[in-house]
């Protein structure tokens, strides 16, 4: 049994935000008003250099909770947010900054360092899921999604490959090198984001990773633009994807009321 402790709680606009730790790892759980039945959970993973309360995490969580009545949860990745950096973290981050300053490709450093972090993070995500499924408002056996882009995908691909409780995942913007082998073990529905003009990840690399997923149902969303220009409407699309696959569609697929 993992040790789940809640350390803070607040509410706004019908969304309850609870800070927690699982075996000492800090996370956040966003929840709707309690209902009669357990609600689906989407596990989020943040990007490299970010943390569990980055606006992109809180924003996605709010879309899932307020839009679909789902729970959403995220933990800090190793070396990120409120977690300590090791000497290895410091060395890899220094190497990334050095490569960037020298105009060298970031890919080799990011692929290697994210692969290292993912090996640590996968069991942490599994422990988090174990702990959260003990809560009556989530429960065991319900549908669980995973949503992580960039470093969140480096963690998500091995996590989803290893974790049969995940029934749908939104991923994107990573290299195939360390991930394609694990992607070939994944058969749940996938929505994958890539940027057509990504200055770090080539088109061939992005398409190769998408191609590797063994899922019968998989969708690739490619948008014009550079690495950091992933359009905000892809977050809405991800929420609709989870609404379809986690089985509680309360957000209409198209605007419900006549306009004008």
């Amino acid at each position: 049994m993992h040790s789940l402790q809640f350390t803070a709680e607040s509410s706004s606009d019908g969304v309850t935000e609870r800070d927690f730790t699982v075996d000492g790892i800090p996370g956040v759980l966003w929840s709707p008003a309690p209902g009669a039945e357990p609600a689906p959970l989407v596990l989020l993973a943040h990007g490299g250099g970010n943390h569990k309360k980055h606006p992109s995490m809180a924003g996605r969580a709010r879309l899932l909770v307020a839009g679909c009545g789902f729970h959403a949860a995220v933990i800090d990745a190793p070396g990120h947010g409120d977690r300590p950096r090791t000497a290895h973290d410091e060395a890899e981050i220094a190497e990334l900054f050095r490569a960037r300053a020298a105009g060298e490709p970031e890919g080799p450093v990011v692929v290697r360092y994210n692969d290292h972090l993912a090996r640590l993070a996968v069991p942490e995500y599994q422990a988090t899921l174990d702990a959260l499924q003990q809560l009556p408002e989530i429960g065991a056996g319900g549908p669980v999604g995973f949503w992580g882009i960039n470093m969140g995908t480096a963690i998500g691909v091995p996590f989803v490959a290893a974790e049969p409780r995940i029934t749908a995942a939104v991923l994107g913007q990573h290299w195939p090198d360390a991930l394609a082998g694990k992607a070939r073990q994944i058969t749940v529905p996938i929505e994958y984001d890539m940027q057509w003009d990504d200055e770090h990840i080539s088109r061939e690399q992005g398409l190769e990773l998408f191609d590797a997923f063994a899922s019968n149902e998989k969708t690739l969303h490619v948008n014009a633009g550079r690495h950091k220009e992933l359009p905000r409407f892809e977050a809405d699309s991800a929420v609709r994807f989870f609404a379809r696959h986690l089985g509680r569609v309360t957000a209409p697929a198209v605007p419900a009321a006549p306009v004008g």
Copy 2:
């Protein structure tokens, strides 16, 4: 001035369907209940071998009218629906069936025949737009979208390239051969659909046509599956695309919380 005549009218579920002819070419206009202001128009184009009242046309029109309060209109392509086939049409269709029966690629016949039909259809779509913009409920100067997949894209790419009144387009599932040159002239927002396991159009061909569009804002949606397996949720996505770009969004598909 083009000759617009309405020949039949019916209504159901708040959607009015009016058959019309423009210069003798038969079409259908679907409209919402009349409002105080003109409403945007989306021109549809049907696929090869289909016609203006195919369920996919009526279904898309209903999503646009009931979901967004837009008008939607389509005309029969040359040699399709209620329009006569020429000897050239008969010969090309026979050649397509022969190639299919012989297990030969359909692409060369479809590309050539669709290119021929598009040359005829582009001025017909322009005449239809001229005529429909005379209606007070549509008006001149309002936003106009175009939505056509398969043969609808063979018509749509040269039409959108030639027609500055089109401000956003959903296209997909065609070859670059006859279309990439025109696509390079298109700068309006594009959503483009392709199938990852299309038995007629290779991945390279699909990606080449998407790449050709000069639009700063363009999105590619790739789904696992064969040519005819384009998922129905892509129609919902297209409607949201038009809701965003034709500028009358008052009912977002998900709550408009910050995403970060």
